[in-house]
Symmetry: C2
Subunit: 193 residues, 2 copies
């Protein structure tokens, strides 16, 4: 979605080079969205405001992203797919605890949480997918690695319900803190003590 133009390849090739203008504009707009959502909340997020904050003209944002929903989905997707490493501690329990702790740290950040909430509200189904990001696939990778160790990991569905879902629910719908003890207990309840 970053560039829904008829020919996305040139945009990608220009964006792939870190110093290009297109990439610089994109980064500035992304940063502006994150800052605005963190400060003002998702309500006051409009294209002209974002453009002004990013030092870019509103026309550019309108043409590249089209709407606030697509813009938020793009920002959230970048945030949830970029600098994430699938942990490899040697054991399934260790991997899952590390994975859950990383996710808890992300969702516990008020700025990230505000971004997720805003994306859910305006992005619809597409926004929801952006909030999931690569988390599901990473979980799948962890379970497959355990299977390669000749272990018997739980199913992906069960792991999602036991670990991923409580983390997202508690972060988004409640004001309870995502403590390390509670996060670890999710893994324990799944794998047994």
């Amino acid at each position: 979605m970053p560039t829904p133009s008829p020919a996305p390849s040139p945009a990608l090739s220009s964006g792939s080079r870190p110093g290009g203008r297109s990439a610089r504009v994109r980064a500035a707009v992304h940063r502006a969205v994150e800052e605005l959502v963190a400060d003002e909340g998702g309500d006051a997020l409009t294209i002209p405001v974002v453009a002004a904050r990013a030092g870019v003209h509103a026309t550019t944002v309108y043409r590249r992203w089209g709407s606030v929903g697509e813009l938020l989905a793009d920002v959230t997707t970048s945030r949830f797919t970029g600098d994430i490493v699938v942990p490899d501690t040697g054991s399934l329990r260790g991997d899952l605890e590390r994975y859950a702790a990383d996710l808890a740290k992300d969702l516990g950040d008020p700025d990230t949480l505000a971004l997720v909430r805003a994306t859910i509200g305006t992005g619809g189904e597409q926004g929801a997918a952006a909030c999931r990001g690569e988390r599901q696939r990473q979980l799948e990778a962890i379970l497959e690695r355990e299977q390669a160790r000749d272990g018997e990991p739980p199913t992906l569905e069960r792991t999602t319900d036991a670990v991923l879902a409580p983390l997202y629910y508690r972060a988004v719908f409640t004001d309870l803190p995502l403590t390390p003890e509670w996060t670890r207990s999710l893994v324990s309840r799944l794998l047994g003590d």
Copy 2:
């Protein structure tokens, strides 16, 4: 927040009577919000649009609710606290299965889901509380009833993580269906087969 006026008692007394004008306006606005969110999505939801759909002047909506966020929180709160009965089937498993099935039916409705998403996006912490509604307290009531039967129910936290969280997560963040089989399996995994 339905009536943040300095003296809410007269509004309530007039609103408590089902035929009062205040109550009629309130119902019309609520219905307009639900219809608009279901049709257009949460983005196009503005006070003038809601007022026009409800056959009410925008001034009234601005004065009674103030902002789209508070309006959405009010509508969602009504939706999630109104016609809900705590099941009493005689056993903890039966109660939980009934409870989970009811919640799955609610969250599975696309209109309700759109309302929840929009409320999360614009309502912030207050919107999140509105989406939870009375669900948490109802769950507490079920567990306390089991304790009165001299049973040993799981803790509220554990039940929330095992039943409530997966339902909300799957509904809001994924496009997977909330099937009765899967819903029942949540209770089974909590209580043991």
